[in-house]
């Protein structure tokens, strides 16, 4: 009865268990405990939430392992952490520490402007951001076990996450309706691995879970992303940059589960206090747009 670790089913399956849930960014043990108590399915341990990364400027790197360990000790739910795009060693360090999922994330400053990590080489599963099916399929081809929209992190503005989710969903629908002889040209147009598109066509959908991320700030935002076909939601700055993190966290969790119960979402949204202050994305310069990172 031999045990096989880190298989595709085991890595993708871990993300499937997170479906219908909310993954919350936290920067210390106290926040992690609040997130767990509010019903987060996992926490993302970071040194700074994306809006603070924007404010701080400079190079954003993997969190201090001390913070990650502190969070891992504080909660029983899975703990994720971010490594820079293409930073093999940050990813290996996080894997060695035993984090449950690594986000190869455009929120951090990329370490490699040409190549992403070969994620299939790792035992730990990875989540990656995408804006369209080409990007999604390339990440799956490299071994990502879970996807999320990139959105525009740290802005509290849902517009980019909506754009990316709609784009991916529309392109997936198109591929599933294509005839076999059209797929290769579509692969060329999208810059997507042909084999992955074939899998999508046969299965009638993406082979991995796809969450929404990058701008979710309210219960209605979370429900909107579920309505558009997200399998779950990441909330970065939206919880702990709001007026009342416990209330926001709990309301966003419930709105994600009951995303088409509008009476309930109305009730959940009442008197929550102010959400995080948002940013008009058109005011961001090209260099400030995190979604352009990754290739």
């Amino acid at each position: 009865m031999e045990k096989v670790l880190g298989t595709e089913i085991v890595k993708r399956g871990m993300a499937q268990m997170q479906k219908g849930g909310v993954i919350m960014d936290v920067v210390n043990a106290e926040q992690a405990r609040i997130a767990e108590a509010s019903g987060a399915v996992a926490v993302m341990a970071l040194e700074r939430v994306p809006s603070d990364i924007r404010a701080a400027g400079g190079v954003a790197r993997m969190a201090d392992p001390h913070i990650v360990e502190e969070v891992m000790r504080a909660v029983t739910i899975p703990v994720m952490a971010k490594a820079r795009i293409g930073h093999i060693v940050e990813a290996r360090v996080l894997e060695a520490m035993g984090v449950d999922y690594i986000d190869e994330s455009e929120v951090l400053t990329p370490a490699d402007e040409e190549f992403h990590l070969l994620k299939s080489d790792f035992t730990v599963p990875f989540v990656c951001g995408c804006r369209d099916l080409g990007e999604a399929a390339r990440r799956i081809g490299e071994g990502a076990s879970m996807l999320r929209t990139k959105g525009e992190p740290g802005t509290g503005n849902i517009v980019e996450a909506v754009r990316h989710m709609r784009k991916v969903q529309a392109q997936v629908r198109k591929v599933t309706l294509m005839s076999d002889d059209e797929l290769m040209t579509e692969a060329k147009i999208l810059g997507a691995p042909y084999e992955i598109l074939k899998q999508i066509k046969v299965a009638g959908g993406l082979p991995v879970v796809n969450f929404a991320a990058g701008g979710v700030a309210t219960p209605a935002d979370a429900a909107l992303m579920m309505e558009l076909g997200a399998d779950g939601v990441f909330v970065g700055s939206g919880i702990f940059k709001s007026d009342s993190p416990e209330k926001f966290a709990s309301a966003i969790v419930q709105a994600t589960t009951y995303f088409n119960d509008y009476d309930l979402i109305g009730k959940l949204s009442k008197e929550l206090g102010a959400p995080m202050k948002g940013i008009d994305i058109s005011k961001l310069s090209q260099e400030e747009r995190m979604q352009e990172r990754g290739w």
Binding site: M1, E2, K3, V4, L5, G6, T7, I9, V10, K11, G13, M14, Q16, M17, Q18, K19, G20, G21, E36, G39, A40, V41, A42, T76, I77, P78, E95, G98, V99, D100, Y101, T123, V124, P125, V253, Q254, T257, Y258
Partner: protein
């Protein structure tokens, strides 16, 4: 045999995977998001997910008593992974148990963190060939009462068991194309219907 309907508690977790497997066996399925729906199903699956989250939503949306009543009518319940944690009478080194429907003590994340998650071929009671079991941050059973039937073990830990109308597994039958484990549950549901109607 009349058609049976199996519900999957749809609060969080791998719900759709169970639904697909139920339908692949030719049975009716239902995603259960409201307690009233329990009146219309013959068996209930508590899926894999995060047990802490599912428990919170069970309480907040008034599922606790209805699920207890469902079980008290001897209607079958199948808990996979997080679902097994939810139905156990006791949790290892913790005073908090949840639905208390089966005489077992369960240890959460017992095999370790995600990087220790694994697949293994297991001998399951009643199956002629080995069964592909998928363990994801899986729990196992540390103690089982005398009336609990042990269906399989891994490295000397109990990872699937049954007591009357309650079935549990540490692993995820819904992630494989092998329907044999779900069939154990389907048989329980069919049998319960004959007993209940008689």
């Amino acid at each position: 045999m009349r058609r049976i309907t199996i519900g999957v508690l749809g609060l969080q977790g791998a719900v759709q995977e169970h639904i697909k497997q139920i339908e692949s066996l030719g049975h009716d399925s239902a995603i259960i998001k409201h307690p009233e729906q329990l009146d219309h199903i013959d068996g209930l699956i508590l899926p894999g997910g995060e047990s802490t989250v599912i428990r919170k939503l069970i309480d907040r949306y008034g599922f606790y008593e209805p699920i207890k009543q469902f079980a008290s009518k001897k209607k079958p319940i199948f808990g996979t992974c997080a679902g097994m944690v939810l139905v156990a009478n006791m949790l290892h080194e913790s005073p908090d148990s949840h639905l208390n429907l089966i005489d077992i003590c369960v240890k959460r994340n017992a095999f370790g963190r995600q990087k220790e998650s694994f697949e293994a071929m297991l001998d399951v009671k009643g199956m002629k060939t080995k069964y592909p079991a998928i363990f994801i941050r899986a729990p196992y059973i540390t103690k089982a009462g005398a009336n609990v039937e042990i269906l399989t073990t891994y490295e000397n830990h109990i990872v699937a068991a049954k007591q009357e109308h309650i079935l549990v597994s540490s692993f995820h039958p819904e992630l494989t194309g092998d329907n044999r484990f779900l069939n154990i549950f389907v048989d329980m549901v069919v049998k319960s219907l004959t007993t209940i109607t008689n």
